[in-house]
Symmetry: C2
Subunit: 360 residues, 2 copies
């Protein structure tokens, strides 16, 4: 399985009903759907009879207001995945640098476009943090595009905005575009120190990717957006996109976004407490290295030489628990897995099951 969260495949293959599965493989907010979303859907079912607004004006206005960005710089898509694909299609890079490990869809989209891919290896001994000095030195003139994932998936490590600015300045000098995927940034409490959303206007070579999927617990709704102050590039990305790419309910998501300040606060409170608690709990388990997380997912390494992630995954599935095998990430191997952070009750259950699975 190339991605986390494929509970339907597990249902087919392992005969575990998706509702009985404790899915630690997908990094979704455990607080569940915001109430205003349910209300909105109930009220707009009849609107499925109309094409969505092809320009998605109302949605863009809400995003602009919520994030304090310019409406004209926003483009929306069918999940962050579409923003990523459309941006790469529009830039059509000959050579692209990505991190290793990082989210696998960049590589897939780049291969579709025929781009050469340079993988910038992150070091385990540095906890897979991005070493900015090394990255700056690796930025060759013949690279057309660099992709950073911040926080990075699956390492859960953050880059500071001031570090990214250094990368951007180097990129300007070397004629490199930078795409930053901030799909998990809403989970970061002090977002302004890490996100480029407040300084994107200064960079003509920058595209920011954002998703609503994870934070608002709605991967099934399919909604993401991109931000770019370079009008020509934004126009090129939009003109290559399929029309009506966002469904009616997702198009109305702006209403939810502006209504749910409580949900945001509750999420940040839950994550701050539970992250600390859960990490401490996991650290008590013998034979694991827990990479300290910045957001709602954790990279873990199995240190026992006779245990690999496939065995562990199998044992946990017997208890209806799904973890994300990370062996198909570049620069990781069969000793790595990724888990989501959920509510305390489930996390307790998970930690117990993991401990048992590590002993047996």
């Amino acid at each position: 399985m190339a991605h986390g969260g494929n509970i339907f495949e597990i249902q087919r293959k392992c005969n575990i009903h998706k509702d009985d599965l404790l899915d630690y493989s997908a990094n979704i907010n455990p607080l569940g759907l915001p109430d205003s979303l349910k209300t909105m859907i109930l009220h707009s079912i009849e609107d499925l009879q109309h094409y969505p607004d092809i320009h998605y004006e109302e949605l863009k206005m809400a995003i602009a207001e919520y994030y304090c960005v310019d409406k004209k710089d926003i483009f929306v898509g069918n999940g962050a995945a579409q923003i990523i694909f459309d941006t790469i299609h529009a830039l059509n890079p000959k050579k692209t640098m990505i991190l290793a490990p990082t989210f696998s869809e960049y590589e897939r989209a780049l291969k579709v476009c025929g781009s050469e891919i340079v993988k910038h290896a992150l070091h385990e001994e540095e906890d897979f943090r991005v070493n900015i000095q090394e990255l700056l030195e690796a930025m060759d003139k013949d690279i057309d595009l660099m992709i950073l994932c911040n926080p990075n998936n699956p390492t859960s490590k953050l880059l500071k905005a001031e570090e990214i600015k250094k990368v951007l300045e180097q990129a300007v000098k070397k004629n490199i575009y930078l795409m930053i995927d901030e799909a998990f940034m809403d989970f970061v409490s002090e977002e302004e120190s890490y996100s480029m959303m407040q300084s994107y206007r200064e960079y003509e070579n920058l595209v920011i990717v954002r998703a609503f999927t994870k934070f608002y617990g709605i991967p099934g709704l399919r909604l993401g957006f991109g931000l770019c102050s370079n009008e020509k590039l934004k126009e090129k990305i939009s003109s290559g996109a399929i029309p009506w790419s966002i469904n009616t309910f997702a198009a109305y998501f702006g209403k939810v976004l502006l209504a749910e300040t409580n949900y945001v606060e509750k999420t940040h409170r839950w994550l701050e407490n539970e992250k600390k608690r859960f990490v401490e709990k996991l650290k008590e388990i013998d034979g694991l290295k827990i990479f300290s997380p910045s957001v709602n997912f954790i990279l873990v390494k199995i240190l026992k030489p006779n245990v690999d992630v496939l065995q562990l995954q199998k044992k946990l599935l017997e208890k209806n628990i799904l973890i994300r095998d990370c062996s198909n990430f570049s620069n990781l191997d069969k000793s790595f897995f990724r888990i989501a952070i959920k509510d305390e009750t489930n996390n307790e259950k998970f930690a117990e099951a993991l401990q048992e699975a590590m002993i047996k």
Copy 2:
């Protein structure tokens, strides 16, 4: 406006609330949403918390069963628009032949891929029917892809399956791929005489595009599929597509599809009767040429030299009625417009308003 149905733009520009607008510009089934769809949505709201099945197995199984095609030949997408874009991306044609007039998104997708476009003009004096002999002669060896829309939008004219088979045989000889867009085919009562769905297995160079949007009255849900027996090509199209392209509700649409045989019969009954009645009614209006429709939309020409479609559109908008200006279709001009067929009550209202607008 490049497409029909943009009621949100009308709402913004003309200050007419979308719910007060009689939208004759989009060709959507006036029977409204199937009941089972509403039930399904109400029951699956919580499932938005999961990623949809990345393989959409259940949906494909339902499509295969309903249309008697092979599951392995199906690929699904975010509306027919995605099927069209992904197929064109995968084929990456140097030179493509399309009809004129036809649905505008082919041209847009082809331009994104940098394909040269040859427009095969349909003749007004032949009621814009495709002249198969002429088409066969026009199929040069240097064409890589031909796109047919059947029934054609905006002409509402059908090609018979036996005619398309002639085109396919010529295409095989000349190494041309054929993409047939059957987005409105569900509206055709004797589908088997016109659709290629039952003989697609015989042709390695054929891709069929289908949509649920129009027939089931759900353009807001975004769901279409493609059919292709050429495994390599199907694989290439799928591998270039964005992941999770279909939202949770659309992914469950198979349940609706298999439940709604009554809806299908009711739609065919309504269309058979109302098409005949509405066309006769429209023919009574002076100064119009009504092109006889095969499905749920009608191409109309204004014969009065002092009236053009922009004036007419404006006059009808004053009565909260929206028609589709067809002047931006190749080979048509400011004397053409397209209207949907709705229920008798609305059609009567429409015909009356149109008659008045033509006199003034």
